[in-house]
């Protein structure tokens, strides 16, 4: 449950982030922004950041939904630090399920792949049940 302060800060920043391996609870269909940072050096290249939500079974990651972002990196002999993000539409996730995440630079997977398990909880759309009139009285 977010506090008033957290909600105010979140309004200012646009979104409140959960640092891994914290758990983020979302409603199916809400967009998730996954933010990464990394250091880079080398020639100028264009790469793709791929952030995924899925399920890992027996070590194999089954991707359910993902978001990508094209990134242009400059030619540099010195290490530079970059922070980037990708937005993920979770419409394809199943409600009432826990999910794992992965993030990587697609062209350099072996050097960049990171993964966290059981960090996204997806709940279903608002549901009501047992709706009835329990009584009526003067007020």
């Amino acid at each position: 449950m977010q506090s008033l302060y957290e909600r105010q800060v979140g309004a200012i920043l646009g979104a409140l982030g959960v640092a891994p391996p914290g758990k983020l609870t979302i409603t199916q269909g809400e967009a998730v922004r996954m933010t990464v940072s990394f250091n880079y050096r080398g020639k100028a290249i264009n790469v793709t950041l791929r952030c995924s939500i899925g399920t890992r079974i027996a070590g194999i990651f089954y991707e359910s939904v993902y978001g990508t972002k094209s990134i242009t990196l400059p030619s540099t002999s010195d290490w530079i630090t970059r922070t980037e993000y990708a937005n993920i539409n979770t419409q394809g996730c199943s409600p009432s399920a826990n999910y794992d995440i992965e993030a990587k630079i697609s062209e350099y997977t072996s050097a960049t792949l990171v993964k966290f398990d059981n960090v996204i909880d997806v709940i279903g759309a608002p549901e009501f049940e047992s709706f009835r009139i329990t009584d009526y009285s003067k007020v």
Binding site: G14, A15, L16, G17, V18, A19, P20, L24, I26, E30, A31, V32, R33, M34, T35, V36, S37, F38, N39, Y40, R41, G42, K43, I45, C51, L73, S75, T76, S77, W79, T81, T83, N87, I101, A103, K104, I105, Y108, A111, T112, L113, V114, F116, V119, I120
Partner: protein, 264 residues
């Protein structure tokens, strides 16, 4: 003074090098390029016992008739007894060797021829050549000089081509100096072609390898030479050899991690 009349006829006839004057020297270059102005000096001595008027004259012998004359802006002078006077003159060098004929005259109720001397001037070659190509070889690649963005750490090798622009076969020579961005001498190379290059033919000179180990602007000074006996610079390049850029490593990532994830 009527000098001519004052001398006995026998004395005039006996004169070999001139009765009253003697051409003691013709100062002129031993050779001159075709079309160039050739300056000469004719030194004439007064052999007489008092001052006389002396005049100089000259002509060029090289197969044309009449012989072209040599220009003397001030062809006459009064010269004291025993003195030597220098007459300056000039002519344009034809395309063949010439023989200078210089004459002296003395004045006695008119100018009278008195002495003659000769001097040969050969035709000097005008050396002409061009630096027709310049390349920098590095890591088995080549680029025209000036070359740009050469990766630091390569081994450099300079190739220079010289072309003989003359109508005769000539040996070509080269001298170049390579300086690094700190203006330190890196290579000093000099060589001559073993054989002559025919007209319009190029000769390639290849230097020694050197380390391109500094970032920045490298310089080279190239002199193309001819005439090994007395080298003449016929073309020059003085400028950038190459610019050297820092080596950019292969793409490398480190510290890749997820900072956070959030609803938006």
């Amino acid at each position: 003074m009527d000098l001519y009349a004052s001398l006995p006829i026998s004395q005039l006839a006996a004169v070999g090098k001139g009765a009253f004057t003697e051409i003691v020297d013709i100062v002129a270059p031993s050779s001159a390029p075709a079309g160039s102005r050739v300056d000469i000096t004719v030194k004439i001595k007064n052999l007489y016992s008092s001052t006389i008027g002396i005049m100089v004259g000259g002509a060029l012998e090289y197969g044309v008739s009449p012989w072209p004359t040599i220009t003397f802006p001030s062809p006459s002078a009064n010269v004291g007894p025993g003195a030597t006077y220098s007459f300056n003159g000039y002519f344009t060098m034809p395309s063949v060797a010439v023989t200078i004929h210089a004459y002296s005259y003395y004045y006695a109720e008119g100018w009278h021829f008195d002495d003659e001397a000769v001097k040969a001037v050969s035709l000097a070659e005008v050396f002409a050549g061009t630096i027709s190509g310049m390349e920098l070889e590095y890591d088995e690649a080549r680029a025209n000089i000036p070359a740009y963005d050469i990766p630091q750490g390569q081994r450099g090798l300079v190739h220079i081509w010289g072309r003989n622009d003359m109508t005769t076969t000539q040996r070509l020579g080269i001298h170049w100096a390579v300086y690094d961005p700190d203006l330190l001498l890196v290579e000093d190379y000099e060589d001559w072609s073993l054989f002559g290059a025919a007209p319009d033919v190029e000769h390639e000179f290849i230097g020694g390898r050197f380390d391109i180990n500094k970032i920045g602007n490298w310089q080279i000074v190239v002199n193309l030479l001819m005439n090994p006996a007395s080298p003449v610079v016929v073309d020059i390049y003085d400028g950038t050899l190459c610019t050297v850029a820092a080596v950019v490593p292969e793409p490398e990532f480190a510290g890749f991690g997820v900072n956070d994830y959030s609803k938006i």
